[in-house]
Symmetry: C3
Subunit: 347 residues, 3 copies
C-alpha cells in the first residue's frame, strides 16, 4: 500500500436499466444510499446486469441521473467489451465516448469487462485516452478498471499489473462467473472452486503495481431454511473476510446489505485502530524524549513496522473524509479524534 490511500472497500454494481416502470429504480436507489449502505465505488452497469434490449436506456439513465445526485464516493460505469468479439468492443467504445462527452466530470473512470491479454487491456486504455482527448479532459483524468474473468487476462495478470503501475489502470476486479465458464469449471455438488491461486495472485500483482484488487460478486443473496427466506449474511461475510485476509482491498456488492458488510469488514476494526493509534502516540513520545531505541510494548518499531500502524490510521482518515457518517458510527468519538490529530511522520 502506498501513502496515498485510494478506497474501494465496496464495488457496488447497479443495473443501469431494469424492466420496471421506473427503469432507473436500482441506479437511483444506489445514488441515494446513505451511511454504511453507501459504497465507495458505485458502478452503473450497462453490461451483464442490464438486458440486451435495455442497454441504450441504461446509458441514458446513467448520463441523466449521475449528475443529479451528490454521491460522495466514486462513479465507475461498466461498459460492454469482449476480447473475442469486435462487436462488443465497438459498443464499449461508443459507450465510453458518450460517457466522457456527457458526464466526464462526474465519473472517475470506466470498468471494462472480459479483457484478454495485455494487448487487449492496452487497447481499452487507448479507447479511454481517445475519448478523454476528444472531449478536452486532461490526460489520465478518466481511469480504467478491468474485470479479470478470462484465461488470457489471468495468464497475463503480472504483465497487465506492471502496465498498470504507469497508466490509468486503477483496479483489478475478479469475475468468477465468466471465468469458470471459460475454464470449464463445474459445480459437482459442493459449489464452484474459490480459485485461491487467482485471488492470491490478484492481491499480489495489485500490490506490486500499486493497484486496487477487488473480489468477485456473491449472488446467493437469499437463503431458505425452516420455512423462512432470509438474507444470506453469513456466507457473504465469509467470502469478504477471506478476501480481506488475503489483502484484497475491497469486495463486490450486489445489494445494500452486502455493501454494509463489505464496508465494515474492509475498514480497520475499533481494536485495530485503538492499537495502532496507541503505538504511534507512544512512538511520537519516544521521539520527543529522544530515546534512541524505539521499542514499544516489547516490539521494536522500525520504519516498516511504523508504516503498518500508519496505514491503519490513513485508511480511517480516508474513510472519514468521504464517509464521516460511517466513521462516526463505527468508532468512539475520542478515538476518532485521536486518529484525526495524530502526527504521522517517522523521522
Amino acid at each position: 500500500m502506498t501513502d496515498d490511500i485510494r478506497l474501494c472497500r465496496t464495488f457496488q454494481t447497479a443495473p443501469a436499466a431494469v424492466p420496471k416502470d421506473d427503469s432507473a429504480k436500482y441506479l437511483v436507489s444506489a445514488l441515494e444510499s446513505e451511511g454504511f449502505q453507501a459504497p465507495d465505488w458505485l458502478v452503473p452497469d450497462m453490461e451483464d446486469g442490464t438486458a440486451p434490449d435495455m442497454k441504450a436506456e441504461g446509458l441514458e439513465n446513467t448520463i441523466e441521473l449521475v449528475p443529479e445526485y451528490e454521491f460522495s464516493g466514486e462513479i465507475w460505469p461498466r461498459v460492454e467489451w469482449s476480447y473475442e468479439d469486435e462487436e462488443y468492443c465497438e459498443k464499449g467504445r461508443d459507450q465510453i465516448d458518450r460517457l466522457v462527452a456527457e458526464i466526464g466530470d462526474e465519473i472517475d473512470g470506466v470498468v471494462v469487462p472480459k479483457v484478454g491479454r495485455l494487448e487487449d487491456v492496452e487497447r481499452a486504455a487507448e479507447v479511454v485516452a481517445e475519448a478523454e482527448a476528444e472531449h478536452g479532459y486532461a490526460d489520465g483524468s478518466i481511469g480504467l478498471s478491468i474485470i479479470v474473468e478470462t484465461g488470457r487476462a489471468r495468464s497475463d495478470l503480472r504483465e497487465i499489473a506492471k502496465f498498470g503501475a504507469d497508466s490509468r489502470l486503477t483496479a483489478l476486479i475478479f469475475g468468477p462467473v465468466d471465468y469458470a465458464a471459460e475454464l470449464g469449471g463445474r459445480n459437482l455438488g459442493d459449489g464452484m472452486p474459490r480459485w485461491d491461486g487467482l485471488l492470491e495472485a490478484l492481491s499480489n500483482e495489485a500490490s506490486a503495481g500499486d493497484l486496487l484488487s477487488i473480489g468477485g460478486p456473491f449472488d446467493d443473496l437469499f437463503k431458505e431454511r425452516a420455512g423462512l427466506t432470509y438474507y444470506n449474511a453469513d456466507a457473504y461475510a465469509d467470502q469478504v473476510e477471506h478476501e480481506a485476509k488475503l489483502g484484497l482491498d475491497g469486495s463486490w456488492s450486489l445489494y445494500p446489505k452486502q455493501t454494509i458488510q463489505a464496508n465494515t469488514i474492509h475498514m480497520p476494526t475499533p481494536e485495530e485502530l485503538e492499537r495502532d493509534v496507541h503505538k504511534i502516540e507512544r512512538f511520537n513520545e519516544a521521539k520527543r524524549e529522544g530515546t534512541g531505541a524505539v521499542t514499544i510494548d516489547g516490539q521494536m518499531v522500525d520504519e516498516a513496522t511504523f508504516k503498518t500502524f500508519r496505514n491503519t490510521v490513513q485508511q480511517v482518515r480516508a474513510i472519514d473524509d468521504t464517509r464521516p457518517a460511517q466513521t462516526e458510527d463505527y468508532y468512539e468519538a475520542a478515538l476518532l479524534e485521536r486518529a484525526r490529530e495524530l502526527e504521522l511522520s517517522y523521522r
Copy 2:
C-alpha cells in the same frame, strides 16, 4: 472452450510391453475396450510404464497392433525424453521417427514426457515436424502433447501454452510423481501434496491457449479393509471430481475401471444436459417469436450465457459421434434425440 470440441475425458496409458507370455496383453486389452471402458485417448506407453529392456518390443507391439484394431478414440503413443539427458531425447527422436514412418496414419500425435522450459518443448515440436516432413505427412497432422512434470515446465507453463496456441501442441498433462521427486516433495504421513496451484494454472493456461488439460495418474488402485482387497473407487472419483471442478478437461487412467469413472465424471450429467437443452429450446422459441429481451426462467440470456448452454450440448454431441454406446447408455433416448437435433446458433 472453443466451438470445436476436442475430447480427452480419459487419457489411458497402457504399457506397450510387459514381461508376460503375451507382452502386448495390456495394449491389446485397451485397444479392444468397449462402452464406458473405452478411453478417449489411448496412450501406448514406451516410457515409465515399460521396463528398460522391453522398450524396443513395446515399440514393435505398438506399430504392429494399433493398425489391427478399429479403436474409435485417439491414439497417442508416449515416447522417451528428458530435458536433462540427451540420451533419452535421442531415443525419443528415433521412436517418433519410427511411429510416424510406420503408423503415421493411425496415430493422432505423440506424448513427450519430462520436458523442460519452452525451448525444450519447441525442440520436441521440431522433432515431430521433421518426422512428419520426412515421411510425407501434411504439416500439423501429427500432434504433440506434453507431460508437465518438471520445475522448468511448470515455471514456463504460460509461455509453453502461448506457444501451444499456434502450434501442434494439443494437451498439457500433469505428471505428479516425477514432479514431486524433482521438487523434493515428501509424504509425511498424510499423502503427497495435491499441488493445487499447479492444477489451477494448468486449467487456466490450457484455456488461454486453447489446449486440453489433463490431471495426473492415481496409482493406489486397490484398497484393503476388513480382510477384503477391492478397487479404490472413492479415492479416484474424488481426485477426478476435483480436477473436473477446476475445469480440467480430462483425467489420467491406468485401469479400465478408472476409465469408466473418468469418462462419466467428465461428461455432462443427465441433469446438466436436460437443463441446457431446455434453455436453448426456450431461447430458440423466444427468437422465433421475436420477443426482444431474452429472459429464460428468470435468467437473462446474453451471448456468454448462451455459450455455456451450447457447450454442454456440443460436448455430448462430440461424445455421441465417437462413443454412441456411452451416450445411449447414459442419457434417456428422448433427451439425447433433442440434444442431437437442436439449433445451436445465437443470432
Copy 3:
C-alpha cells in the same frame, strides 16, 4: 535437486546485537550451538532482529566473533536493504563491504531482505560482486540469498530464479511479515494467510533454478494453557512439515528448539533411509548379476526412480559430513555405515 547437495535445513537468525550487558549474547549462543541445535545456516541479523541504534554494534559483533568460533555450518549475515528506500540500500552496501573486507573468508554469503523486482536483485548481486572484487576474492566466492517479502519480488519470482540459475544467488527465503503488510493481509481471528500459492511457487522456482527454498519464521514461540507457559512445539512442527511436504529445502528458525525440530524434519527419516539404502543395495546386486530388467520389490527401477533413492542417501551423507553428531544420534550405526559405503552409480 542436483547431485551436488547443498544443505539448508535450518536458516537460524540470531540478532547481532541486543540491549543486554553482553550485546552478542544470542549470536555467541548460536555460534556455540551443538548437536541438533546447530543450524545448517547461521544468520547474524543486522536487519529487523536488531534495533536501529544497535545495528553498528551488531556489525562489529559479527566481524569480531564469527572468526573466533569453529562453526561447522554456513555463515550468512543479513544486512539492510529496501527496494523502495535508497537509504537502506546504502547501509546494506556499506555492511556488505565491511563484512567481505573483514571476514570474507569466514562467510558463505550475505542475505539481502526486501528486494523488489529482478532489477533490484541484480543490483544487490552487483554490490556483492563489487565488494568481492575490491577485496580480492574470486568471482562467485561470496553468495547472495534473498528474502522474498514484497509484491514485486513475488511477481518476478520466476525471472529472479532464472537469473539465479547462473549467478551467485543461492537461496530464496520467504518473509511473511513484511509480505502480509505490503499486500494488506489481515488476521481476522483465524490467523494470517499461509500464502499457499507463494510457497508452491517458491518450491517450484527454486527447483527450476537449482536454488534452495526456505520457509518463513514462526514467532509464536510460547503458548499458555491451564496456567502453564510452554514451548509451542506442535504449531512449529506443523508449519515445518507443511514446508517439507511442498519440497522446501529448509525452514527458518528463531530459537534453538526450533532448530532441533527443523533439522529433524528436513532430514530423511530412519525408515526413508533404510528403504532407499535397501533399494540401492538390491539394485547393485541385480546389476552385478546382469539381470536385464531391474525390478525391485515389484517396482521397476528406471533412472528417475534410482535418483530419488540416491538423493536420500546423498542428503544423509551431506549432513554426516558437517554434522556427524546428528546422523550418529538419529540413525542406527549399522544403517549409517551402509549409507556411507554404498555405490551410487546407475550405470
